[in-house]
Amino acid sequence: MDLFKIFSKESPSKDVAKERLKLILIHDRANVSPQFLEMVKGDIIRVISDYAEIDQDGLEIKLTRTGEQNSSTPALVANIPIKKMKDMGR
């Protein structure tokens, strides 16, 4: 057990640096522009709207990495608040 870690409330600054770098590099390497994300956002709204009424202002899409620990595989994560499901005539 690392005594240093127990006694310090904040994580060491090098861990912060490492986490920040991992995210920065995912963006740099994927070379995605804000326009790209806006385009994806527009298309998602179009597709989902057939099935559900969504809160367009609350829709959030970002480039991050997959949930596995220490992963550096990029992942697109979308948070799409649904106001109401559409009745699909079931």
Binding site: F4, K14, K18, I24, D28, R29, S72
Partner: protein, 264 residues
Amino acid sequence: MGISIVVTSGKGGVGKTTTTANIGTALAMLGKKVVVVDADTGLRNLDLHLGLENRIVYNLIDVAEGTCRLKQALIKDKRFDNLFLLPTAQTKDKTAITPSQMQNIVETLKGEFDYVIIDCPAGIEHGFENAVAGADRAIIVTTPEVSAVRDADRIIGKIEAKGLDDHQLIINRIKYEMTKKGEMLNIEDMTDILAIKLLGIVPDDEKIVVSTNRGEPAVTDDHSKAGQAYKNIARRILGEEVPFLDLEDENTGFFGVLKKLFKR
């Protein structure tokens, strides 16, 4: 036929010129015939690191423009007969030479020398393109800082896109006390993030300043830790397996010696 190696980084001030001067000198000390080439046209520095600034007559741009022959622009080092400098112009800019001219010059040098070490300017523009044009191999220098690591990653991407797959990393200016406290990115963090093979670790060393003041590379000073690290790097370039300095530090550093005392 010799081997050409470009020393690059993206970010400025991380130690490219220091690294070029020291690796070049160390390889010469190991008996190789070496030429170090300054590709930082307009902001030349390599001559200062070697203490050769007063001997420059012709330069890289003169060679490209045909003002002189390549041999005339080469300056022999003060200390080592088998070490040469090809300086560049201080009053021209980086577009004064093209990548294909650079490639030809490096190719010719490879016929004469065992190692051609090219000091790349900062940035990813024309100067970078020139410096990597004739390179067989690349050394990427970074420091344990977020901005330097980010730029190194960008450069690695650029170099790989050119098919320059033989590339390794040097981490410069490591401060052991800070890494121990977790206040500085450590070796593992950086190789993990950059996913590139490690060629060497160079400690932050005040003696580097003294070396640059005198125009005598740190490898010529037996008491310089950075100099020792560069000597190890030169041997690794020659294919020898040399353990990394931080491991050696465990045994020879102050704490290492204490540890040994307590172990007994």
